[in-house]
Symmetry: C2
Subunit: 130 residues, 2 copies
DNA sequence: ATAGATGCCGTACCATAGTACGGAGTCAAG
DNA sequence: CTTGACTCCGTACTATGGTACGGCATCTAT
């Protein structure tokens, strides 16, 4: 099987070497086989690493990601659905919040035009938000 | 003028008392008038506090918020626009990322149905993301 | 006037998610 | 067979944004 060193794995996963070691310490990645003391990673490890980054982008903490990985191993659909649904709700709320913030920023960027003379209250641009 | 104590201000701003003190230490809120040693806040302080929370929701760090507040004081539109535009781009990217993550979670929640028999790979639900 | 809630202060501590260090071993190319 | 890049390890440090502590002062409602 194709195996890669920690540096290659990290590069493919878009993280640093130290981050891989850190995830290993946290139990998010399994200790891989070693070849003369040097870690050798396979495709599963890369998938797992990428999953961690994706789940992180979805707003899960590393602790929650650890739980997801356990659920995956045990195939616990009920709990997985629970977590997914809770996260979806949180994401929807966050997206709404960010859209509101975006609107405030757009207002700030457009209404307070480059060289207009009236007042340009940055604080006011955010009023009535959230 | 109506003035409130730190506890009331914090409550109205949706933060803790210690957080107000912290913002003050960071220079995000001005030291207010005092009445026998007790801080007395006015409406401007509340507006400012709410602005901080909104700007935070927009993804600004406290340091950046400090800069925004300075810009507001000095009425520096050019820089304010720059920051706003940069932030909007970042927000749009983040929203796209979250929508992608949301899709993965929705897939996880629906395809891996409660009591189906086939495999329910949580990791696979996130494949091809981001 | 007396509780009990608030406020004051500085300093210390917390969680999260890494990042850096430094000396030693190992590998790959020329 | 050497040189430079990569890897090993544990431990310590970083940044961000707060949160907690503890002893004392003050305020508010009865």
């Amino acid at each position: 099987m194709e195996t890669v060193t920690i540096g290659k794995l990290a590069a493919k996963g878009g993280v640093g070497v130290e981050t891989v070691r850190y995830y290993q310490r946290r139990g998010l990645l399994a200790e891989p086989q070693r070849d003369a003391g040097i870690r050798r990673y396979g495709d599963d490890d890369l998938r797992r690493l990428r999953f961690i980054r994706s789940a992180q982008a979805a707003g899960f903490t590393l602790e929650e990601i650890g739980e997801l990985l356990d659920l995956d191993a045990v195939d616990d659909r009920i709990r997985a659905r629970q977590l997914a649904k809770a996260r979806i709700a949180a994401i929807d709320a966050k997206i709404a919040e960010m859209q509101s913030a975006r609107a405030a920023l757009a207002k700030l960027a457009s209404e307070c035009a480059n060289s207009s003379v009236g007042a340009c209250p940055i604080i006011a641009a955010f009023e009535h938000q959230i």
